[in-house]
């Protein structure tokens, strides 16, 4: 018995008013390491114990405010700086729309931080065992009694004197609590680990069945089967059987300029290149040429396809015929296609097509360079 270490002494009461009176006496006799245990919060116990106001509110305030700031910065950055999008005709930065999100983030940051701070600072994690656990005292104060415990680490603690002090408070009973001889870690018990695993398995199976099976069973499939038109699918609703509607006749999409020379073989007189072969234009042309033209025409326009015979090779762009084409002719070919080459009007915009023309001109010049061209290079 004597080699056991004392944790503290406890006293039990069976009346909330008695515990408040007792707590008042303990608080005024100078003890610091002591606590009251009760099955539910007792009104007025904070004052009786002379406890200082909790500091938890500060954590809540700081994290609540940073939640609000964070949410606003996030929405401001994503919605009006990084990827501005017009939604419902509202300005990029429209505060009323952001308030609900700000409110939610504020609340969630404030509450979560409060819970985490409570665990970290007040519950003494990661300690997972306590001398009071599994004692008769703890079982009683968890049910229908109220208890006071004075810990041995208190500077005023003296085994006999403190016990007598508690007895003078006229409790139901007093008890000396010892530290248990060996530390036990209930979280490593097979039973507990088994329980965790069991819960994990049940939750996983449940989630799997919910998301993969239940959602496709009548009547839970209402999300899956909606009365709406899916893109590229037919619809009995419209007379022509198409789900997607054609634009109204004679209308033109925003930013689109109709091409008036379709079907003509050589509209070169009216089509002239509006762009000078500047550095920007040539770089844009190179990028687009490598993306859209080079698979068939080859990286340098030699007609050496990278498609290894899956598609007929086009003739080289460096033939005399190709070199004699006007800019407008090349533009026309890109726009409407020629022989097996399809139209690239939907992939490459008008400006990009002219840039490609400029780039092809540069390629042709390079492939058929003369000695005099070297003088320019040397001059640089």
């Amino acid at each position: 018995m004597t080699d056991k270490k004392i944790f503290g002494v406890t006293a039990l009461f069976n009346d909330p008013n008695a515990i408040i009176a007792a707590a008042r006496k303990v608080a005024s006799s100078g003890f610091t390491k002591w606590d009251v245990n009760s099955p539910y919060p007792i009104h007025g116990i904070d004052k009786a114990m002379k406890m200082k106001p909790s500091k938890l509110g500060i954590v809540t305030l700081i994290f609540g405010l940073s939640g609000a700031a964070l949410a606003l910065i996030l929405m401001w950055w994503t919605m009006s700086v990084d990827y501005p999008m017009i939604i419902g005709g509202k300005p990029y930065f429209s505060l009323p729309a952001f308030i609900p999100v700000t409110f939610e983030i504020t609340v969630i940051m404030a509450t979560l931080s409060t819970v985490v701070a409570m665990f970290a600072f007040f519950f003494g994690l990661p300690r997972n065992s306590h001398a009071l656990h599994d004692t008769d005292y703890m079982k009683k104060v968890s049910r229908d009694h109220y208890g006071i415990v004075i810990e041995a680490t208190d500077p005023n603690f003296d085994e006999k004197a403190t016990l007598q002090f508690l007895k003078d408070l006229k409790p139901l009973s007093t008890e000396i609590i010892y530290h248990s001889e060996k530390e036990t870690y209930p979280i490593f018990e097979p039973r507990f680990i088994g329980l965790l695993l069991g819960v994990a398995v049940v939750v996983s199976i449940g989630t799997y069945l919910m998301l993969n099976k239940l959602m496709y069973i009548v009547p839970f499939d209402w999300m899956d089967k909606q009365a709406k038109v899916i893109p590229q699918s037919g619809s009995e609703f419209f007379a022509d059987g198409r789900g997607m509607r054609l634009p109204v006749e004679g209308t033109v999409a925003k930013g689109f300029i109709p091409y008036p020379f379709e079907g003509q073989t050589n509209p070169t007189e009216v089509l002239s290149n509006p762009y000078f072969p500047t550095k920007e234009s040539l770089e844009l042309g190179e990028r687009k040429f490598l993306t859209y033209c080079s698979p068939c025409h080859g990286n340098y326009g030699d007609g050496d396809s990278r498609l290894a015979g899956q598609f007929p090779n086009p003739p080289t762009l460096h033939s005399d015929r190709a070199r004699s084409f006007s800019d407008g002719m090349i533009y026309h070919i890109i726009t409407v296609g020629q022989n097996v080459m399809p139209s690239y009007a939907s992939q490459v915009t008008r400006d990009e097509r002219w840039a490609i023309v400029n780039y092809i001109r540069a390629l042709q010049r390079a492939k058929n360079a003369t000695d005099s061209d070297l003088n320019f290079v040397k001059a640089e």
């Binding site: 009176a21 009104h43 007025g44 509110g57 308030i99």
Partner: protein, 396 residues
């Protein structure tokens, strides 16, 4: 902890209270009558604001009584009489409404048959918005409120002498009936008195909006009276600042609730951007009304929120006195902001007139007088209530 003997010595309120109330009321009435002669329309609109303010104080207090019974609150029992005295203004509403009924034509566009005839929307709303049904509604509502006030008060008074616990049970049952009726009637009053001034506009949240403001006003009045009475020793000495804390916390909760509801109303209308709804808010953005609109956010939400947010502030008598006066003003301001831009002459912006200050004076005077009258007749503490001891023992 226990005060085994419940000692309560009845004390009459000082006579200066009735003098203050009487002076305010008489000054208010004289200036009010003058206002009707100077600018009839403006006087009617201001009278409407003061009237809805009176509804807020009276019916809001009645709601607080029912709330105490139905949730089984202990802490508010020692101050229930204060709440009941404010609810005593309810039967007066039947008298106060009469000047408004004579001016229905001035206030409500829908009351003119020739205007309704050429307006498709008003035509469709005519089965509800017509003068006969309106007057019936007004008196049915005031009748219902008065009836419940009468029953609550009679049982509460009877308990002072009989100390019969059954009376509490009866009042709990009455509360269960009253709460849904209250929800319904306060919504109808909001629609009738506030929303139908602009009969083309509609907001489905208007009832809750008025309810939130109503409870704020009633709570503020109760808090102010409680703090003043407690400071001057008219309430039970066992009452602590913990009781005040509950009032402060409720005020804080309802300030938040009002902010939530007011913003919800604004955001939904702003988001949907339908012209038939947005024009109402646009009116409140015309000229100097924009300042009033911004002011509403500051006065009715930001200032009370910041004042009451910390725990000690909710039980500080000085701060509570300040904020309850502030919130009473804020509720009046809210109603003013709601009603006045609908007046045709003021639709482009606010211009000051002394008439706007007259009717609140009379309303405050009347409330003080009624409170004082009831305080002379009844005990300031419900001494027969079985929960009184627990209420006095209340600690945080």
């Amino acid at each position: 902890m226990h005060n085994n003997e419940l000692t309560y010595q009845r004390k009459d309120l000082p006579s200066s209270i009735s003098k203050i109330g009487m002076t305010l009321l008489i000054v208010g009435i004289i200036l009010g009558v003058a206002a009707f002669f100077v600018d009839h329309t403006r006087a009617v609109y201001n009278y409407l604001i003061a009237f809805t303010f009176m509804i807020s104080i009276g019916v809001g207090a009645l709601f607080l009584i029912a709330l105490e019974y139905i949730v089984g609150a202990d802490w508010s029992v020692p101050i229930r009489r204060v709440v009941e005295f404010f609810a005593a203004t309810i039967p007066l509403l039947a008298l106060l409404v009469i000047p408004l009924l004579f001016n229905i034509g001035e206030l409500f566009h829908w009351s003119h048959p020739e205007a309704v005839a050429e307006d498709e929307i008003l035509n469709a709303k005519a089965p509800y918005l017509n003068v006969t049904f309106f007057i019936i509604r007004v008196f049915v509502l005031i009748g219902l409120w008065s009836l419940f006030y009468f029953f609550f008060m009679r049982n509460s008074k009877k308990q002072d002498t009989t100390k019969d616990q059954k009376l509490t049970t009866i009042n709990i049952r009455l509360s269960a009936i009253f709460i849904p009726i209250f929800a319904f009637t306060i919504t109808i009053s909001a629609i009738d008195w506030l929303m139908s001034i602009e009969p083309h506009w509609f907001s489905t949240i208007i009832g809750v909006y008025f309810f939130a403001g109503t409870v704020i006003a009633a709570l503020a009045a109760v808090t102010l009276a409680t703090v003043l009475l407690k400071e001057n020793g008219y309430l039970h000495p066992a009452m602590t600042n913990d009781h005040l804390y509950s009032l402060g916390a409720l005020l804080f909760a309802f300030v938040n609730f009002w902010g939530y509801i007011a913003f919800s109303q604004y955001m939904l209308i702003w988001y949907a951007d339908l012209p038939e709804e947005t024009f109402w808010f646009m009116q409140k953005w015309e000229g100097s009304w924009a300042i009033f609109s911004i002011g509403l956010i500051i006065i009715k939400f930001l200032v009370p929120y910041i004042t009451l947010v910390s725990q000690p502030a909710k039980m500080d008598p000085r701060k509570l006195k300040f904020i309850s006066i502030w919130l009473l003003f804020a509720h009046f301001y809210d109603l003013f902001w709601f009603v006045m831009p609908e007046m045709e002459e003021l639709s482009g912006g606010y211009s000051f007139s002394w008439i706007d200050l007259v009717f609140p004076i009379a309303a405050v005077g009347l409330i003080i007088l009624v409170f004082n009258m009831k305080a002379k007749k009844e005990n300031l503490i419900p001494i027969g209530d079985p929960k009184l001891q627990r209420g006095l023992d209340f600690h945080l």
